[in-house]
Symmetry: C2
Amino acid sequence: MTTHQIDVLGIGNAIVDVLSRSDDAFLDANELAKGAMTLIDEAQAENLYTKMGQAIEISGGSAANTIAGIASFGAKGAFIGKVRDDQLGKIFTHDIRSIGVEFITRAAVGGAPTARCLILVTPDGERTMNTYLGASQNLSADDIDADQVASAHTLYLEGYLWDPAQAKKAFLKAAKYAHNASRQVALTLSDAFCVDRYRHEFLNLLVDDVDILFANEAEITSLFQVSDFEDAVKLAAEKCKLAVLTRSEKGCVIVKGSERHDVCAVKIDQVIDTTGAGDLFAAGFLYGFSKNKSLLECGHLGAVAAHEIISHMGARPEISLVDLVKLQGL
Amino acid sequence: MTTHQIDVLGIGNAIVDVLSRSDDAFLDANELAKGAMTLIDEAQAENLYTKMGQAIEISGGSAANTIAGIASFGAKGAFIGKVRDDQLGKIFTHDIRSIGVEFITRAAVGGAPTARCLILVTPDGERTMNTYLGASQNLSADDIDADQVASAHTLYLEGYLWDPAQAKKAFLKAAKYAHNASRQVALTLSDAFCVDRYRHEFLNLLVDDVDILFANEAEITSLFQVSDFEDAVKLAAEKCKLAVLTRSEKGCVIVKGSERHDVCAVKIDQVIDTTGAGDLFAAGFLYGFSKNKSLLECGHLGAVAAHEIISHMGARPEISLVDLVKLQGL
């Protein structure tokens, strides 16, 4: 592999999170599927927002959070995603650039507003997400630059990109450019309902397009339509070049052919908000991967980053991850 | 005094806070006066924002924070302030209404965007504020409704209103309506530099227009141009009908003629962010005052609310203040 300027290039929906504390009764009353990501239209977003309590706004988006994590580890990240030229778009752009991430996708002029995700955080720390995709739906193959993709060690794609029709084409174009340049392509399945919507397409991607698959327990069992996690691990070992399977407080399992590593989660006293846990796990793993660490080390770096993110509200690191791992002697 | 529908009606600049962790070196490099509120124009705001790290957005505004505190105590608050009909204006409007505050001021259509305050929070928890007043400058006497003012037990005004020229007229009109209806008028001096800008006007207000004065140590000593706090207390006893003088971790002094009460601050292990400390102290005090509690109890309620707000980022309560005081048996 030739040298690279970017460690990880992420492509995903560019979203500002609107986080509000809530309770289970509110989820029930509004028929919200706890723990899931549900797509909503603009009218539904307005309606839910009116009912929600006071909120805080923090930049989000699954792959964008991962790339923010990469930057927090002191590595070079880049992000491709579409905002509008509105106030929320400026907030998203400012936040990701302020931490040193390369973000050059042109903002949409006119059309739907910048995407937002209305997130209800229940007292158990679980987040329930309701996404209005807005301008992020307009990401297209034209937003992919062959040279930028070729300059990145790993291309990281979120499964959520399968929802906006144009974004899928951007995804496939980028994956092709990456492999043409002998780069790695990683995919996260994003959400069990998302897997359910696109199971066959995701399974097809595993054949040639994806080198590293990230999934949690619900997603991987949904993908392979099995009920037992260990059955899913076996299938992942067969179907994936490398699979990283996360299980919240049970840690993660990394499988690569016959090779298997079990990594423990970092213990936490109180989970404040799980928003971004999977995204930051991927950040830690991919940071290690881009630095040629062992798979076990990559898994542990993921666990450390996930631990940081669930200890506060929001899906972007509050403290420097590079300082955190130094403190831990990693 | 006749019955009232609103416990406290606040008038102030309607602002969204943009909070970012920073260090003293950043303040020095950008010549920012630590702990102060500095007014900046749109170009300065753009420039500082570009240099700031990633941020979170939370509704703010001094009097608006106080009214949010009133609502959190389970009392009835109302707020008058001007946003634009942009995304930040919608956020401000949503947040304050979502907690049950009456907020009916018409948003500006066109013109300057919704006000924002760029806040740098240093590791000691101190906040340094840089405010672009934007649309909040367009608050005018036309936005004051005589019936609404007459229906409020206490009218609460922030000294910052002296900066936008039109808002001053709104302030004086509201104070007149309040006194015509035999209501109480409270003023907070807001900031020592603000006092410096308008000392004579504030001193004149104390003669007839203001019944309750809130100030911290720097503000009250600046107002009376004395160096010793106890000298300021004596002058406050002479010049004010009722003065509530806060001193951060040293607690507060309440003076009403020859009557004086010293109230301790609530001990805190670690100050995270002092943004809103004075605003929430005023909320606790005015909540008690509107419920005819003793001055000592009012001071203690202020201390409890201030303690809550400095334990996290942002100037709006994260937990219900009514639950908090119940827990403490107040």
